[in-house]
Structure formats: C-alpha cells, structure tokens
C-alpha cells in the first residue's frame, strides 16, 4: 500500500474523512502542476470529474452506496471511448472524428463502481509502439528520469500512476503495452487472459492479441479494479461468458499450493544482469527453484509481429490509402509495410500460434506460475534508436517486447510487478499463469508485496 492507494482513498471518502470533491480537486491541482513536465494527459476532464465526485458525495450523504471505488480518481489511455470526448488512439487522424457517445465497457464499469474519471492519456499512435514517443502529442516522460521514455504503448497510463497523478489507470496490451510501461515506470500492471475483460469501446490494434487492463500502485488496487471490470459483454465477441472470479478476496491465501518456476532459455538471455537479478530475488522469496523452458520464443515473436502488422494495417487501410502522411512518422512505415504482408504469411503465423499454444499448455500442466523478466533493460533515453544486446547493436524499441510478446501471443494472463530493489530506474518481473488463472497471479503478487520484494516506485 502507498499514500496514493486507491482503496485507501475510497475508505477515507466512505468514512467521510474527506470528500470525493476534495480528492478530485486536489488531483486536478496535481495534474495541472506536474503534467506539463510529464505529458501524460491529452484531455483533462475537470468539470465532469468534479460533477461525478459531487454525485459520490451526495450518494454518501443520502445514505446510498456509491460503489467499491467511491471517489477514486482514474484516467484512461486515449484509445478508450469516453462519452463526450473524441477517441484519439494517439493519432492526429482521429482528432477529426466525432466525439464518443458512450463510455467503453470497462470505463463504464469503473465509473459505475464510483471511480471518478479525470482524463485521457497519451500513447503510441494506434498502440503501435513500446515507448510513447508520440510525434503528434509529444513524448510522455518517465517520472523517475524525465530524459527517458515511460514505455508504451500505454505510456501515459504508466507515468500518470508512477508520478502519483492518479492511483489507477487503464491501458491496453497487444504485445506488451501494459507490462512494458508498468515495468519501466515501476508500477503494477495486469494483462488478463485474452477475452477476460471486454474490449468494447476500445480502439483495436491487433485483434488477435488485444487485451485491456489496469495499472496501479498496489496489488489490492489492481485486484479491486480488475474485479469491477470483469463480466460478460455481448458487444465484444471475444469477451468470455465465464462468470467473474473475484481476486480481491483471495490476496491472503498465500502460495503454499502453487507450483512456481522460473522461465529460462529465451527469458534468461539477452537482458542486462540487473533484470535477471530482479527475477532471482522474486524466485528466492517464493522458494522457486525449478526452471522450465518454453520453446521457440523467437518464432513466437516473429509470428506475433506478422499478425500484429497485418491486422493493424487492415484497420487503417482507408487512411493509409488517402492520407499516409498524416500518420505519425514513428508508425507510418510499419503500417504501410503491414498492408503489404502476403495473406499466406499471416495464416502461417496463425498456424504457428496454435502450435505454440499447445507447448505452453503442456508446461502449465506441470506448473502454476512462471517468473520472467518484463523488459531486457530499464527505460531507454527518449530518442534512443539502438542498444547493444549480447555484443550486437540492435534497434532498441522492438527489444522492449522481447519477453512480453511471446506471452500475449497466446493470451496468457500476466502481472508485471515492480522489483523493490531496482535502482536507479525501475524494472519489472512478469508473473505468468495458465489461461483464466489470474487468481494465482494475484496471490503470488500479494505475497511478494507483503515480503517487500515488490513495491511501486512513486515519484513525488
């Protein structure tokens, strides 16, 4: 728990120690004072936030039930529909679109639980990136070092939470876009199982891999937000019909019955030593000595890259045809290349995905939770194009997805937890489970948090 803990704020509001309006006004002041140097927000919804907060206060004053997240300030990556706001998805092109007429499902569910939406957050254009170096809206800066990236594509979400501007944010993750900024900014990020949370009202990128999820400063906040957002949604064909499985009540269960192992091979190579040291500290705290090898991760990344490029381009074909130069130079050439991918290559990549899924299923018959680094190195400098990995100079930005991309490729649930001892820049460790077993991840994360092995890094 931290001073910015969402459930702590909700408890104070419910106990009438502070009003939701006071919390909202204070949060808006913080955003006004500090966001100009961070560039997390693309829209700040001051009036509607104060109005929503007053509704929470009125409900409490009238003896009503304002919800489990009463008065908790939150913000969302600007690819989520927010009624009355144009959904930018990081682009200039979408700025000409009409305003959304309703909230995305997950936004509506958080607001329905009493959370107060403060604004929308910067991202890589159309979610195609790992750094949030957005040419239209400027780069989002890492709160722990303003010369460095926040990660991406949910960089505004990671930085806003890590700066303490809001205790809770929503992001989306196709190849690592929740986990990478969570790790580089030093906060918790959940990418649930593919299909667990509704994507309805979120601008899609790679439909085969698109997930949405929360970023927060504590395990309990992450669980509380996740629980509120669960549930079927007929407006998202990918969303599961499974009943919701609450995780907040399970944080005290411990890990005694869980088989936990460290992923080796791909996940233990090409990273900086501090990254693997962070994984080992987590493994030691959990008593995890077993090593397991997921095969063919480079091919998994290759296949994920092909599918992402082809699906991403397919969503933007009209604009690629009519106004290619209005795309961000950081994404434009990659989208155009994606439009030229031969269909047979795309199908081959999908076939490999099914093969790889079977191998992963075999592993999860033997273990419950795997540990792996989130990124191979901490935050890059803004504008850094290359990095030396294993003695070779390589493009830096794609390398941020080295360890995240194979896991989202097959839709596994993952929590990126912030390593407590990482200095001077944060690092993350991925907790990975079999599909639909988010509860195991939360139990492990809670044990690690109580042991002080993982903790959010909040830049005051």
């Amino acid at each position: 728990m931290t001073p910015a803990d969402a459930l702590g704020i909700a408890a104070d509001i419910r106990a009438r120690r502070v009003t939701a309006r006071e919390v909202t006004a204070r949060t808006l002041e913080g955003i006004r004072a500090r966001d100009p140097s961070l560039n997390c927000f693309t829209d700040v919804l001051g009036d509607s936030a104060l109005h929503d907060a007053e509704s929470v206060d009125a409900a409490l004053a009238g003896g009503g039930e304002p919800g489990s997240l009463a008065g908790v300030p939150f913000a969302v990556k600007n690819l989520f529909d927010v009624a009355g706001v144009t959904t930018l998805a990081g682009s200039r092109i979408n700025a000409g679109h009409p305003k959304a007429t309703r909230d995305a499902t997950v936004v509506a569910r958080l607001r329905g639980a009493g959370a107060v939406l403060l604004g929308t957050l910067n991202m890589d254009e159309y979610a195609f990136g790992f750094t949030t170096e957005n040419s239209h809206h400027g780069p989002t800066r890492n709160p722990h070092d303003l010369t460095r990236v926040a990660g991406g594509s949910s960089g505004g979400s990671g930085a806003a939470v890590a700066a303490g501007l809001v205790p809770l944010a929503l992001g989306s993750d196709t190849n690592g876009s929740i986990r990478v900024p969570a790790a580089l900014c030093g906060v918790f990020g959940l990418k649930p199982t593919y299909g667990r949370l509704s994507r309805s009202g979120a601008a899609l990128f790679g439909m085969s891999f698109d997930h949405v999820g929360p970023l927060a400063t504590s395990v309990r906040d992450l669980a509380a937000a996740y629980d509120v957002m669960q549930g079927p949604d007929v407006t998202d064909p990918v969303c599961t019909d499974r009943p919701m499985e609450a995780c907040l009540p399970r944080l005290e269960e411990g890990t005694g019955d869980l088989r936990i192992a460290v992923a080796d091979g791909h996940f233990a190579s090409r990273g900086e030593p501090d990254v693997f040291a962070a994984v080992e500290r987590v493994a030691k705290a959990l008593g995890a000595e077993r090593r397991v090898t997921i095969p063919e991760n480079d091919r998994a990344r290759a296949a994920a890259t092909i599918i992402t490029a082809a699906e991403g381009a397919s969503l933007h074909m009209d604009d690629l045809r009519s106004r290619p130069l209005d795309f961000d130079p950081m994404t434009r050439d990659r989208f155009l290349a994606g439009a030229l991918v031969p269909a047979a290559l795309y199908v081959r990549a999908q076939r490999f995905r099914a093969w790889y899924r079977e191998r992963v299923r075999e592993i999860f018959r033997e273990v419950d939770v795997l540990l792996a680094p989130t990124t191979p190195f901490p935050a890059l400098r803004i504008g850094q194009d290359t990095i030396t990995v294993a003695g070779a100079q390589v493009p830096a930005r794609p390398m941020l997805g080295l360890y995240t991309q194979p896991l989202s490729f097959v839709g596994l649930p993952v929590i990126s937890v912030p390593a407590a001892g990482a200095r001077p820049l944060p690092l993350g460790v991925q907790l990975v489970a079999a599909p639909w077993n988010e509860a195991a991840l939360f139990r492990v994360a809670a044990v690690l948090e109580r042991a002080g092995v993982v903790a959010a890094h909040i830049a005051g």
Binding site: D298, A302, P324, D333, A337, V341, R351
Partner: protein
Amino acid sequence: MSAPPEPSPPASTQAPDVARFVDEVAPLLGLRIPPECREGVTRNLAGLLAAGALLGDFPVGDTETAPVFKP
C-alpha cells in the same frame, strides 16, 4: 544459333527484391507509398518477410486454425 540462356539460380538463393515488390504491389492495393516512406516501408516489409521465413520450414503438423464462427 543463339547461346542457351544461363541457368537461373534456385529461387531460395536469390535475394528478394523487396523494394520492387513494394513498388509493384502497393498500387494494386490502392496504396501510394510517399517517396519519403519508400525506404522505411521496404526495410519494414523485409523484416516481416524475414520473420515469415523463420516460420516457413517449421513443422506445425496438421494444426487447424479456422476462425470459429457460431451462427
């Protein structure tokens, strides 16, 4: 009598002319590649084709990947 044509090398040993692919296929899809993008598009497409080559000879058995459609 003209000299016989020189045998072509096997297709697999020829470097793919990705720039030519971009130039010829993009217009068929209604895409005008701006001149300042041509090099970047070619480089990125070459990367995607290389990724595809990595998958090309990998045995995935009789894996079925039809999209599921529920009427």
